[in-house]
């Protein structure tokens, strides 16, 4: 379904050149949930955005990317934009502060010239567990969890096949996170979606995904299944260290931490 080969992303010019992503390759099958894990600066979000085609103005992107047998060119097609959607990390930042929920949800439908827009909006709100009374509210009038649901609803409006999730629950309270993760799982089952989930939280990735890639400093350190992750059968020291750190505070284990790159 999704195939990335040799992706490179470079920001800046001359002396300020920054290689955010180096030679990254990954494959995601249809209906799969694939995780991209890493710490800050690992390039995981950049990979997602490169795939989404929203980096063209600010970076040089090279490499071969194919989505559902469509080779991705510099300018994404309308059909790509309908089939691939994204949910962003910051629930407040990803909704336009001056647009009502209704405007936010109907805009993608309008852009793709879909019919029965009002129906679709109400239906999308229902699917994410919000009732129609939310339609004409502004983002600052609703909670973080509700905003993230609106983000998910926006991603569903065009009837996509693939949803790219950029740390969708990192900014949410733990109890709200559980609700949103459950929502995402249900939607995936009901609509047969394919996910790529970016997160720094190994537990979230282990819960949501079947396989994952660990990234560090712009490169893929290791690709494995979640099962292998759980069994601690990783061979790479970086992954092992990440895993240990995810389990919580352990004074003796911390002494063994290395500095990578």
């Amino acid at each position: 379904m999704i195939d990335i080969q040799g992706l490179d992303v470079v920001f800046g010019h001359g002396k300020n050149v920054f290689h955010a992503v180096r030679d990254v390759s990954l494959r995601v099958e249809k209906g799969q949930s694939f995780g991209l894990v890493g710490e800050s600066g690992s390039g995981k979000t950049t990979v997602l955005r490169a795939l989404a085609g929203i980096l063209e103005r600010v970076a040089r992107v090279s490499g071969a990317m194919t989505v559902a047998d469509e080779t991705l060119l510099r300018h994404r097609s309308q059909s790509f934009r309908r089939r691939v959607q994204m949910v962003f990390q910051d629930p407040f930042g990803s909704l336009h502060p001056r647009h009502t929920v209704d405007t936010i949800l109907s805009e993608p439908a309008r852009v793709h010239k879909l019919d029965r827009i009002e129906e679709r909006v109400v239906q999308a709100l229902e699917e994410v567990g919000l009732d129609a009374s939310f339609r004409f509210r502004y983002p600052h009038q609703i909670s973080g969890g509700q905003r993230q649901r609106v983000s998910v609803a926006r991603a569903l409006i065009t009837g996509p096949e693939i949803i790219l999730l950029d740390e969708p629950t990192s900014a949410l309270d733990v109890s709200v996170q559980a609700e949103v993760l459950n929502l995402l799982m249900r939607l995936k089952r009901e609509h047969g979606l394919t996910y790529i989930l970016v997160s720094h939280n190994l537990a979230v990735v282990a819960h949501m995904c079947e396989s994952l890639s660990v990234m560090q400093n712009g490169a893929v350190v290791e690709t494995m299944s979640v099962q292998q992750l759980r069994e601690h059968s990783s061979t790479m020291p970086y992954t092992q260290q990440l895993l240990t750190a995810s389990l919580g505070y352990d004074r003796t284990a911390i002494d063994a931490f290395e500095e990578f790159g």
């Binding site: 929203i54 600010v58 994404r76 502060p97 405007t103």
Partner: protein, 302 residues
């Protein structure tokens, strides 16, 4: 009484039923905020007064302010002529009232020209970046560098005297700061996630600029416009004073000062009254602008 109650209920409803209602609610809340500032309300009152006087001019004046009555010239303020008469016997109060229309005309015309140009250039420059930004900003810098009155004078010298040309000249010297403001806002938001989301949806650059970027510039631009208004009126008055703007017998306030200045010592009311009018209106716009800024400033939340 009941319609007012229903309106209030509609504006304070928990759940807005339409985009119009949601928008009106936001404006209403902003208005409640604005009302709490007495100084801003004074500014608003002055401007509303100005509009009222200009609209009602045909009904509240006793003459058209243009006919000569040489027998009545230079009469001091009294019961028959509340502000006295000028050197050609025309009632000054009437001329002030008719002149308010001209002031409003100048204000409106300049705004209509300056805001769209400033927004267009600023948002495009800020959002696109790169050489587009450089070219547009250097263009803006050129206009910014000229002292307003001098450039206005030069333009009027080329285009000829008259109120419209004066307005055009003022507009050309006023748009630059708005472009800068719009560009600053566009720069701030262009990497926001909601802009990325819009790109993700396949919305065209024009669509993003018009529906996403511009609405967020409106607050700053509106505040700047009201604060600049005083300067615009004064420049128009200055041009009028120099004889480059409205031509006699048009009762433009600046021209009135110019023609009346020789009478300042003995018949003080002839140039002073129009001067006070300019002062009051400029002050009104300033106070209004300050109040708007307090309400619209994003830091105070919305």
């Amino acid at each position: 009484m009941t319609t007012e109650a229903t309106l209030r209920g509609w504006l304070l409803a928990e759940i807005p039923q339409s985009k119009l209602q949601a928008r009106c609610q936001r404006v209403f809340i902003g208005w409640l905020d604005f009302k709490r500032n007495p100084i801003a309300m004074i500014g608003l009152l002055i401007i509303v007064g100005l509009v009222a006087i200009a609209t009602l001019a045909p009904w509240i004046t006793t003459s058209n302010g243009l006919e000569l009555h040489l027998a009545d010239r230079l009469k001091p303020p009294g019961s028959e002529h509340w502000f006295g008469t000028d050197e050609l016997g025309r009632d000054i109060l009437d001329r002030i009232i008719w002149g308010s229309r001209i002031t409003l005309y100048i204000v409106a015309l300049v705004s209509i020209i300056v805001v769209p140009i400033g927004l267009l250039i600023g948002t495009v420059a800020g959002y696109m970046g790169g050489w587009v930004d450089t070219v547009l900003m250097r263009l803006t810098d050129i206009f910014l560098a000229f002292p307003r009155l001098i450039l206005a004078m030069a333009l009027v010298a080329v285009l000829g005297r008259g109120l419209e040309n004066a307005v055009l000249a003022i507009a050309l010297t006023t748009w630059s700061p708005f472009a800068r403001i719009a560009r600053a806002e566009a720069l701030t938001i262009r990497n926001s996630e909601f802009i990325l989301a819009a790109q993700m949806q396949g919305i065209s650059t024009v669509g993003i600029l018009v529906r996403h970027v511009t609405p967020l510039c409106m607050s700053s631009v509106t505040v700047r416009l009201t604060l600049d208004m005083a300067g615009i009126i004064l420049t128009a008055a200055g041009l009028g004073f120099l004889g480059l703007g409205a031509q006699p017998p048009t009762p433009e306030w600046g021209a009135m000062i110019s023609l009346g200045r020789q009478y300042l010592i003995d018949q003080w009311w002839v140039p002073t009254i129009p001067g006070i009018a300019i002062l009051v209106v400029s002050l009104g716009f300033n106070l209004l602008g300050d109040g708007l800024r307090d309400v619209l400033d994003p830091k105070s939340g919305n």
